[in-house]
Structure formats: structure tokens, C-alpha cells
Assembly symmetry: C2
Homo-oligomer: 407 residues x 2
């Protein structure tokens, strides 16, 4: 008889569903205040523009045929061109040859890991890091090393030998923090000195609520080396946060030489991204992207402000939290020895508030790191200010209760 | 400086674009008679049903929200349920828990290989096999072993130790041949005796033009073991050949226990398939699937007949070819020592006919196999009968010419 457990590759045997996901299924979802997930607010999606684009595609037989037939693995040519022109306009000169269309940026991260990682290869990541990136990389069994938080320690001798360093320069998931211009330059120095690549997760870049935009690593590297072809950076972008997630359209931008290799990976993995969705997306970015981004920034800025205010009011002394300049997340740390996994469990079961304990964002094998046990992530994107405030108040109550219990 | 070639994982260094793909780019595509690619005919796609479904989704705010927000990694629940009910109705009792939605069946093959293969693991395949499956498996570095063509040699002692055997029982790509009921039972015996899994590519199953349908391996295994949960089979299905490729919706069906593991792979690879496309698909299969399949079978049956007739007329003695009962492909073999790679090159450059030389369908490392150098694949799906006939006539001329040259 067939025993599937024996047939799994060893790297896949230990992969199990996250506790939180499973626990959520046991509870009636409607009564929970969700501060955990980072879904974009569907009220912002450009429904009218998408409906108009759909109708126009079905009304034109030639476009309808293109929308339903297999698309090129590298992506729908006019969309690749549009993205390249947009990036060029923002200061990163490139062409369609520098763009591969992917199913959201998650697929971009998977493909880059598939291209570069063999078991035991060193992969450098910020700690904590986006869970989705860690799960994508895990499948190729890297040995994780942490990029030190203090850029004074970004030393080529100590940090050599990694295939790549994965970073989210703008308001990254989960911490909401942003790399300074100096840190970006220092990281490029490190890449040049060690020969590693930089994987730049740009998925929140457009969602900036305060402060001046900073240049992407890809832009800085293109300036520094004179040409995107010489940049040691692969940039993953997405329309999931600016238009809508379920069109599943993102992209990788980088040297054409590397993009050609990634196209072959796309072909072997799922042939191509839906042509229909790429055509819808192209219509909509041309008419509605800037307005949709402006609307998203207005909405999310208010919610961030409201949540930061609520945290200031509700949290007992010793709880610290970030105030992100953009993106969807606030990162909080509990004082002393307080355990955030337990905190998240009790928040859900006793107070009906879902948050994500920070432990999930720390890659396997990177040992004891400050914040590993005591941190958690909040998102302000999906929920109106009053309900989020109620959730934060309940978390404050729990934090005070646990402080008393541990005293 | 960063040298990307050094950063690639070794398994990816040798991956290059196929010769044919590159050569095609050099020629003016409009003057070529394409008998190579196996694209479905866009004249058959159900445009009206898709336009109506789109309009209905955008007109309903709740459905529009669902269509654009992140979908569950396992797939849109009503579509999973519909597929399970359809498979149950066709004699394979199962539930939504037995179904994972993928981006076409190509992604299903990638995920199954990602789940099961470690470098050096044995993967058994029919020889020749679907190129897309080989490219998906290649990324996980299996050691290929060939399933002997004659089922009298399907011996558990000689063929043990493989993680799985990948087969296309119905009119498979590239040969167009179909496994008999006896071969299917013998293959299930082999799986039971060796403990390996069977990966059943069901992508052409609905496109049968002659003869009585045969039960799928999944159906036979479910009957044999009393329950899909005990079947050693993962079945990959797709709507690419029956509705339209660029919705990019397919599925894996199998034991729920294995599907749950594959859901985690889906999550790490690209989070989820487009909810919009799954909803469009569900609307369309409910109203138009059977009619679209009937129309496709009518169209493709005529084209197959016409191409088989043309081959009989045009080919010199010694050229053999299959007459498939369904699907999109005919497999031909040249006589003697004639080389099909050269034949395909000359067909393209001298006669402006594209075909696919058979060598691409033979997995690396499986050595000298009859048909390896002399075979090629023709497709009759995309092109009208007269133009296909003209293409076959030119191929016949070339075959006669090469016969004379080698005499």
C-alpha cells in the first residue's frame, strides 16, 4: 500500500498549517475583531474601472481571443511595457525585457528562491521578515542568516557567502519600519563587496502616508552602476495592494539576463499568468491607478493614526510599538519576559481579538534574537477605526492583566 | 561585483530556452503553417457565457468584493464543491476536501513534484512524455526511469523505488495514445506492489472523439480501495482545454490528507488562484461546459480525420503515425536513421511548417530509446483542415526528399 508520508520529500514532511489558521477555524469569525491579517480594504478596489474594462474586452472579438488564449510566459507585452515605462518615469530606466509578470509578488519570491537556492545555501533576511517570503524560501532549504539591525555591523567579512539578502525597504511587513537612504547605500556597498544579490520587496512602496519617498534599491543600484543590467537587484512588485489582490498580477524587475532565466522557471511552474487579468489590470492602471493609490493612502493614514492613538491610550508602560510611515502594519513589543504567543492565544480566546504573534516572522535556525518571544503584529488596513480602537483597548486590558499575573 | 551565473543554484544553470522557441522568433510568424503547438482553437471559447458572468459579478457588490479580495489557498469553495460533485457523478466519490485549485494543470504537476521529489529521487515517466511535466519535474532533480511501453514488463521487482509514476492515460501528449483498461489495472497493481504514487494527467480526458470512455486511474483506484482516501493517485485536471486556457484554472484531486499538504505548497508558491477567474469559471461550467466540450469534439474530430487522411496520402512508405481517439496530437516516426530534429529544422526553414521534433519529449538520462531520434509531433487543434493539409503535404515532400538524400 502507498504510504504518502514516506513519499514526501523530507523538506516537506515538517510543513504544517499554522496554528493561528487552524485555531481561527474553531471560532465564529463574525464576532472576532481582526487585527491580524493584512488584507487591503475592498472598499478601495476600482470596481467601476474593472467593470468597464471587462465589458470592453468582451465586446472586442480580437481582444477577447487574446484574453482567453495562452499568454506568453514572460507576460502580456503591453503590460510589461507599461510597467517598464512607469519605472523609467520614476527614475529606473528599463524596458519590457527587464520585466517578468508573476502571480502577485509572492510568486516572484518563490521563483527567485527556485532560481538561486540549493539546500544549505545561505540566504540573508531581515529579522523579523515577511512570513510569505520565509515560507517561499523554506521550500529550497536555505541556511538563514540574519541581516543585523544596526547597519554599522553590515560588514562584508562577517556577512559574506550569502546567495542573496531579502529586504523590504519601505514599511516592511511585519515591523512597518523603513530603511534610511544611508542604510540603502550601505546595503548596496555590502552587495558589491560580497557579490550577493539583493531581493527587494517593493509591495508597499506606493502606500506612503508621511515623509518624502526614498529611492528603491533597484533605482540606486541602476544609478550607481549606470545601467539596470549591472544592478545586483531583483525587485518584486505587485498590484495586490494598489488595485486588487485577486487579479494575481505582480512582477519582477531586474537585469534582462536574469529575467530570461526566470521566464523559463515561470514556464515550468504554471506556463503564464492569466492574459485576461493582465489586460484588465493594464486598462485599470492607465485610468485609475493614481486615484486608487490616493484613496488608499487617505483611508489607511487615518486608520494608522487612529490605531497609534489607541495604542498610546490603551497600552500599559513598557509596551512599545512602531508608527509606520506607510504600509499596513504596526509592530509591538511586550515588556520583560511576557510571551507574545500566549498573548495572541489569550487575545483570541478570551478577548476575541486576532493578532499575529511575532514568532512566526523569525526564520528557523537563527536562534535567540531580541523581540523573538515578546513581539506581535497589528494591521490597521481592513477594519474601521472604531472597531480597531475597541480591539486595541481589549489588548491593552490583556497586557495589564498579564503584567499583574507575572508580578 | 555580482556575477549572477555563480548565484544560480546548479540545477538552474543548464536551463535554457528551447531551440524551437528561439528559432521561431527569427521568422515571420504569419507565413508559417503551425503544426507544432497544441493550443486550443479560440473559436470554441464560450465568449458569451463569460461576458454574461463578468457583467453579473460586477453588478453585485458582494460578489465583486469576493472576486477581487484574496481567495483561500485551497480555492474558491463553491468551485471546489462543483468539481467534487462532477467527479462524484462520473463515478469517483469525493468532496471539496479532495480538491485543490491550481493555475492550470501545469501548476499541479509542479506542486506534486515540489511535494515529493528530492534530488536523485526516482521519478517514473512514460517515454516520450509531456514536455511541461518534464520541465516541472526537472527543477527538483529527479533520476528519471522509463515506464516500459509493454505492460508485460511492469514488474514490481524491476521498477521499485520510484516516488511516483507520471502517466497520461487518455490520448496523451505527445503520442496521442490511450492506455487500455487492462493496462490501467496493471499499473494500479504496480503502484500497490511498489508503494509508489500515480500522477494521472487528465487534461485531455473530456476530448474523446471515438470509442467508449475508459475509467480514470483515480476512479479505478477509488473502486479498488473502497475510498478516495486510500487511492494512491493524484489526478491533475484543467479547464484549459475545455473552457479556455487563460483563466488559468485547473485542479488536483486526491486523498484529502495529501491535498492539505499541497494547499500549504500553494500558499507558499503564489498564495491563491485568482478568485475572479474561479468565479467566472464556475458560472461558465454550470451553463456552458457540456456544450463547449461537444463543440470542441466536433471541430477537433474533423481536423484529426483530415490530418490522418493527409498523412496517409502525403507520407512516403516507412513513415508511421498514430490515429488518436481524442486529444490534440498525432505522433509520427520517420524511417530508418532519419533524424527528426533535422527534419523539424528543415521543415521550418525550407518549407515554413513548424512541428516539434520528438527529442524534446524524452527525459534526460534515459538513454537510447526507440523513436528518440526519428519521431515528431503534429497538432491538428488550431488550424483549419485545408491549411493543415497543405502543411502535411509539404512535410511529405520533405520526407521524400530526405529519403532520396540518404539513399
Amino acid at each position: 500500500m502507498t504510504d504518502w508520508d514516506i513519499l514526501y520529500a523530507s523538506r516537506m514532511r515538517s510543513v504544517i498549517a499554522s496554528d493561528i489558521r487552524e485555531r481561527m477555524k474553531l471560532l465564529d469569525a463574525s464576532e472576532i475583531i481582526h487585527l491580524g491579517g493584512g488584507l487591503p480594504d475592498p472598499a478601495i478596489f476600482p470596481y467601476g474601472a474593472l467593470a468597464a474594462s471587462s465589458a470592453a474586452i468582451w465586446a472586442d472579438p480580437a481582444r477577447a481571443r487574446t484574453a482567453l488564449q495562452y499568454a506568453p510566459s514572460e507576460g502580456h507585452a503591453p503590460l510589461r511595457k507599461w510597467i517598464a515605462e512607469r519605472m523609467t518615469g520614476e527614475g529606473t530606466p528599463c524596458t519590457a525585457d527587464n520585466i517578468l509578470i508573476t502571480n502577485g509578488s509572492q510568486q516572484g519570491l518563490d521563483f527567485i528562491a527556485k532560481l538561486m537556492l540549493a539546500p544549505g545555501d545561505k540566504a540573508m533576511v531581515e529579522i523579523p521578515s515577511f512570513i510569505g517570503a520565509l515560507r517561499a524560501f523554506d521550500a529550497y532549504q536555505p541556511h538563514y542568516i540574519g541581516l543585523p539591525q544596526d547597519s554599522a555591523h553590515w560588514d562584508a567579512k562577517a556577512l559574506g557567502g550569502a546567495k542573496f539578502c531579502y529586504v523590504g525597504p519601505d514599511f516592511r511587513n511585519p515591523t512597518g519600519t523603513t530603511m534610511t537612504l544611508g542604510e540603502r547605500e550601505t546595503l548596496l556597498d555590502l552587495a558589491d563587496a560580497t557579490g550577493m544579490a539583493l531581493i527587494e520587496d517593493g509591495c508597499y512602496e506606493a502606500l506612503r502616508y508621511d515623509g518624502a519617498p526614498l529611492p528603491s534599491l533597484l533605482k540606486l543600484a541602476t544609478e550607481r552602476h549606470g545601467n539596470i543590467e549591472k544592478a545586483p537587484v531583483l525587485y518584486t512588485g505587485t498590484f495586490s495592494k494598489t488595485i486588487a489582490p485577486s487579479l494575481r498580477v505582480g512582477w519582477i524587475a531586474g537585469p534582462a539576463y536574469v529575467i530570461r532565466k526566470l521566464v523559463l522557471i515561470k514556464q515550468a511552474s504554471d506556463l503564464a499568468t492569466s492574459a485576461l487579468n493582465q489586460m484588465l489590470l493594464l486598462d485599470v492602471v492607465q485610468t485609475a491607478l493614481d486615484d486608487t493609490i490616493a484613496q488608499a493612502c487617505l483611508t489607511y493614514r487615518d486608520r494608522r493614526d487612529s490605531m497609534v492613538d489607541a495604542l498610546r491610550e490603551a497600552m500599559p508602560p513598557g509596551v512599545t510599538f512602531t508608527r509606520p510611515e506607510g504600509g499596513l502594519y504596526i509592530w509591538a513589543e511586550l515588556p520583560g519576559e511576557m510571551d507574545a504567543t500566549l498573548f495572541a492565544q489569550r487575545a483570541l480566546t478570551e478577548h476575541r481579538v486576532s493578532i499575529v504573534g511575532g514568532a512566526a516572522f523569525y526564520p528557523a535556525g537563527t536562534g535567540a534574537i531580541p523581540g523573538r518571544t515578546g513581539s506581535f503584529r497589528l494591521s490597521f488596513s481592513m477594519i474601521d477605526a472604531d472597531r480597531a480602537r475597541e480591539g486595541v483597548m481589549r489588548l491593552g486590558e490583556l497586557a495589564r492583566q498579564m503584567t499583574l499575573e507575572s508580578a
